[in-house]
């Protein structure tokens, strides 16, 4: 497969292809030059990104999205890795131990998957170690690794943020269908994690948040207040696709809980930056 041949093929159907891309010749040129460097496996990704530039869709590249996701996965992985390794934090002899290990292992799998995908696409994966993160969030959560309820509260914030972050990136991946599907397959796993962590918080040891539901109800149902307001910003939305769900006969709680909301890249980075040492 050769990008130039493909452009020729497209020209047969779309005679104006070169005119279309002409104003953005710079974008095209970089792809011509890239051709020799990029491995075959990377071609679908490279093409997706090129079409986006040529046809003026969302400017954020697929690799940028993958690196953004990788940053969040590192944030989650090292959090669970340290939590699981902290003696006395997760109540020994309870199902919580296996649950946290399961989630930790998934986050590591996501890290490795994303790293591989970025490298295969000719990109450079971002790199983090545990030392890059401050899980107290600049002393907002000083007991994050000594208090089990605090640990779970922060875990919930990470998982709910992760769900919202992947959702917010979906449209930037539409030009790369297989990448989009993979992102969606991670997205729903994060939602499963979020639901379970929320259930763990209902237990006495986990903080006794007995009213906590596996789904997000209204604005900021975290039980830890304003510290995580940014995580839940907009979750009280009741209008979907122009339809006010409450006008269909549903309570505000049901209307907000039945749809999760997306978060923009900027909003997610603002949350993540609290936990990343500068």
């Amino acid at each position: 497969m050769n990008i130039l041949n493909i452009l020729d093929e497209i020209e047969k159907v779309d005679a104006e292809i070169y005119e279309r891309i002409n104003p953005r010749r710079a974008a095209m040129k970089s792809f011509y030059n890239m051709g020799s460097k990029v491995a075959m496996a990377a071609v679908p990704l490279a093409m997706g990104s090129m079409f986006k530039k040529a046809y003026g869709q969302t400017p954020s590249g697929v690799i940028d999205v993958l690196n953004f996701a990788l940053t969040l996965e590192y944030l989650e992985y090292y959090f669970y890795q340290q939590g699981a390794a902290q003696p006395g934090l997760i109540p020994a002899g309870t199902p919580a131990v296996a649950a946290i290990n399961t989630i930790r292992d998934h986050e590591l799998a996501h890290v490795n998957l994303l790293k591989g995908a970025i490298s295969a696409s000719g990109g450079t994966p971002v790199s983090f170690t545990a030392a890059n993160f401050d899980y107290t969030a600049k002393n907002n959560f000083p007991t994050v690794f000594s208090s089990y309820p605090t640990f779970l509260a922060v875990a919930q914030a990470f998982e709910d943020t992760g769900v919202r972050a992947y959702k917010g990136q979906a449209t930037a991946l539409m030009s790369a269908p297989s990448v989009l599907q993979t992102a969606l397959q991670i997205h729903s796993v994060e939602a499963r994690h979020a639901a379970h962590i929320r259930q763990m918080r209902t237990t006495a040891a986990g903080g006794g948040q007995t009213a906590m539901k596996p789904w997000i109800t209204g604005a900021n149902d975290s039980g830890i207040g304003a510290a995580v307001d940014a995580v839940y910003k907009g979750e009280d939305n009741v209008t979907q696709g122009g339809v006010n769900i409450t006008s269909l006969g549903f309570s505000v709680n049901a209307a907000t809980a039945s749809f999760d909301e997306a978060l923009s890249t900027a909003d997610v980075l603002a949350i993540a930056s609290l936990f990343i040492k500068s």
Binding site: I10, V13, D14, F51, Y55, G56, Q57, P95, A99, T102, D105, H106, L108, A109, H110, N112, L113, V163, Y166, K167, A170, T171, M174, S175, S178, L180, Q181, T182, L184, Q185, I186, H187, S188, V189, E190, A191, R192, H193, A194, A195, H196, Q199, K213, P214, W215, Q240, G241, G242, V243, I245, L248, G249, F250, S251, A255, A257, S258, F259, D260, A262
Partner: protein
Amino acid sequence: MKNFQQEDQDVLHKESGILTATLQRRSFLQYAGAGAAGIALIAAGCKKDKNDNNGVNLGSGDIGILNYAYALEQLEAAFYDAVVKTPYSGISQTELGLLTDIRDHELAHREFFKKALSSSAIPGLEVNFSSIDFSSRASVLGTAKAFEDLGVSAYNGAGKLIKSADYLVLAGKIVSVEARHAALIRDLIENGTFANMEVVDANGLDKARTPSEVLSIAKAFIKTSINATNLPS
């Protein structure tokens, strides 16, 4: 609502335009991405097909995908409606409360699609729950688990078939709620199974299924025959 329908009109307009005029962006991407480009383009240009002897026709393009989601939400809503109306023996208040919440979410999804699709919506489907023992916790939760995991895999597989960014985000807003349901139901059956190897692979990925895979599983619970032949693939 008006906006929603207006967008559909726009999409149809753009798609039919590609056969006679220049390529629109969206169609161009489809051409570039799909191997069977010609087929995809022709399918995209087709008008919604009528329901006939081959069953309820979901339609084509994004409308077809939305109707596909609407069909699955109808199935889930009908199931939880029955669960809450005749709770299984020995149900706790906590479990009844959670299942009532899920029922409300599925009803909201169903009613949302019905309203959003408006005149393009498929009719109400007739369900077949003869294999479910609604008095048995194991039967009800086992079925709920199957439906929720199926729903998650269905949305995960359908995302890349959606052409409108707005619809993709909407599907994303629903699928994560379905995944939360799936996790809870699994934990109710056996704590800790919220994301076990039955549903999450070694790469940490949830399942994704094509519409034909999903509908062949779902049809055991749906009396009405569904025709998905015009769905994008």
